[in-house]
């Protein structure tokens, strides 16, 4: 293992091979349509999608929708992370709490987010709260479960080291257990971020008529597949960008934890 591979500043280096695969897929798509191999009026060629993107960028619709979706994603994710880490720590440290609450959690966990849309609409109407209600609960679980598992998985020796140095309970938490569990917590945060994007789009498609998700639905209803695909592609790129951003922030602020995430670099 090279000494400072993970603390370096190479996280932003683009993955050329990965980008080439994406470009090759786009080119294949374009060629099959240009050559008439696929002739289906509702499947536009990438060139038509790029044309559509110009249109949506010029009108400002794309930017507004992206900003709205980003806002919901970040807000929902932040709430999910804050609640997930706190509850995960409590559960990780308390066998009693685990015994009383894990069954309930296992009932709530598989509930489909879409089931909350009617409830959220009744409570909050067409608003960002509706979106948040759909985003937060499902994105909470990966953070909560990973934080709990992370704390429980901290090697017993580390706790004994803390005791032999007579650390206070607070110091034990923020000097030993929290940093030791950080790589696992970051995995949960990462899964949860992608989930938050999916859920925000979902909430916009069937709940709050705003953002990228509503863009997909409204362009579909307007019979403009070229514009609809613009939104679909932007949603994908947004996921990619957020993931890269998170990994970037992690490699700079937690070099040791980033080492454990290295296999997941996009």
């Amino acid at each position: 293992m090279t000494a400072r591979r993970f603390s370096g500043r190479l996280w932003w280096r683009p993955n050329i091979a990965g980008l080439l695969t994406m470009a090759a897929c786009g080119l294949a798509w374009e060629l099959t349509i240009q050559a008439g191999i696929i002739d289906f009026q509702y499947l536009p060629a990438p060139s038509a999608i790029i044309q559509g993107a110009r249109e949506l960028v010029a009108s400002g619709e794309l930017a507004a929708a992206t900003v709205h979706t980003l806002e919901s994603v970040f807000l929902g994710w932040a709430i999910a992370v804050a609640a997930g880490v706190s509850l995960g720590l409590l559960l990780g440290f308390s066998p009693l709490l685990r015994r009383y609450s894990l069954a309930t959690i296992e009932v709530l966990r598989p509930m489909p987010a879409i089931a909350f849309v009617p409830v959220a609409l009744l409570l909050f109407g067409f608003s960002i709260q509706t979106e948040l209600m759909v985003i937060v609960l499902p994105s909470l679980w990966p953070v909560l479960i990973n934080t709990m598992g992370g704390v429980m998985g901290v090697h017993a020796r580390l706790g004994e080291v803390g005791r032999t140095f007579r650390l206070s309970r607070a110091a034990m938490l923020y000097k030993v257990f929290l940093p030791a569990a950080t790589p696992t917590i970051l995995v949960g945060m990462r899964i949860s971020l992608t989930l938050a994007v999916v859920l925000a789009v979902l909430a916009e498609m069937v709940g709050n008529p705003e953002g990228l998700g509503y863009g997909v639905v409204s362009q579909q209803q307007a019979l403009r597949p070229d514009l609809m695909f613009v939104y679909v592609v932007v949603i994908g790129l947004l996921g990619l960008a957020l993931n890269a951003l998170l990994i970037g922030v992690v490699s700079v602020s937690f070099p040791a934890a980033a080492a454990e995430l290295k296999g997941y670099r996009p």
Binding site: M1, R157, E160, F165, A171, K175, A256
Partner: protein
């Protein structure tokens, strides 16, 4: 050669850092309980290096955990400076065998060594104390490295430096060199003797290596059996400073080695 000794005749209680009286320990085991230590009476003299030697499964580690306050004994009394211990006592630091689990892998060497004193003394003082401790173990150049960048021997030195930084009265070392190769082990043994000379702290050193016990010890306690009992103790009358080649060639060294071996019952593990 004096192979007897180790009893408490003629010594005052304040000569001892630790006094164990009839200490027994019972731990849960497979649904029931199992006796790990039985009727251990042992004093640790101020400023001595006491090695505790015995085969595996005789409760050596459990004994050090009791002294370090991580486990409380089932019956008997353990006193430090005359006071019954309850939890890890101040100025008593355990150095664990498995350094890779005992070091904070996300902290640099400097910050690992600072763990026991940060927030308790001024930052300028902290820097001096940490660098002093690193100098004692010869790691002053590695302050900014991470533990996973260091060899096993260096990582164990970090753990020792971390203990020394709190200026402990007693170091409890649980087979600290058992996972290291022979050469690293020899150099760390000499380093430990030098550190003890410089700091004057008392050291309890657990090992299953008879030669190590004789080479390092001012006194040796032989622990044996399951549950473990203190078989006997020896005052090691070998000259100081000890030397890896010369000391080990002395007839007396061989006699002590033989005597400890006999006390264990001829089983070397």
């Amino acid at each position: 050669m004096s192979v007897a000794g180790g009893d408490t005749t003629g010594r005052q209680e304040h000569d001892f850092v630790f006094s164990c009286r009839s200490v027994s320990l019972k731990l849960p085991y497979q649904g029931g309980n199992r006796w790990i230590l039985q009727d251990i009476s042992l004093d640790i003299r101020r400023g001595e290096l006491l090695t505790i030697v015995g085969p595996s499964g005789t409760g050596k580690t459990s004994l050090i955990r009791v002294l370090g306050g991580l486990t409380s004994c089932t019956s008997g009394s353990v006193r430090i400076n005359g006071e019954e211990i309850a939890g890890p006592p101040e100025g008593v630091i355990i150095v664990f065998q498995d350094y890779s689990h005992a070091l904070l892998q996300w902290r640099t060497v400097f910050l690992n060594v600072a763990l026991g004193i940060e927030g308790r003394i001024a930052a300028s003082e902290l820097r001096i104390r940490v660098l002093d401790a690193l100098r004692l173990v010869g790691l002053e150049k590695n302050a900014d490295d991470y533990p996973w960048q260091l060899s096993g021997g260096m990582q164990q030195r970090v753990q020792i430096a971390r203990a020394l930084a709190v200026r402990p009265a007693v170091l409890l070392m649980d087979e600290p060199f058992a996972a290291l190769d022979a050469m690293t082990k020899a150099s760390l043994q000499d380093e430990l003797l030098r550190v003890k000379q410089e700091t004057g702290c008392s050291i309890v050193f657990i090992t299953h290596d008879i030669e190590e016990a004789v080479y390092l010890g001012d006194r040796i306690a032989v622990i044996n059996g399951a549950p473990g009992r203190i078989e006997r103790t020896f005052d090691v009358t070998l000259p100081k400073p000890r030397d890896q080649i010369l000391t080990r060639q002395l007839t007396e060294f061989l006699k002590f080695r033989y005597a400890v071996h006999q006390a264990i019952g001829g089983i070397i593990r």
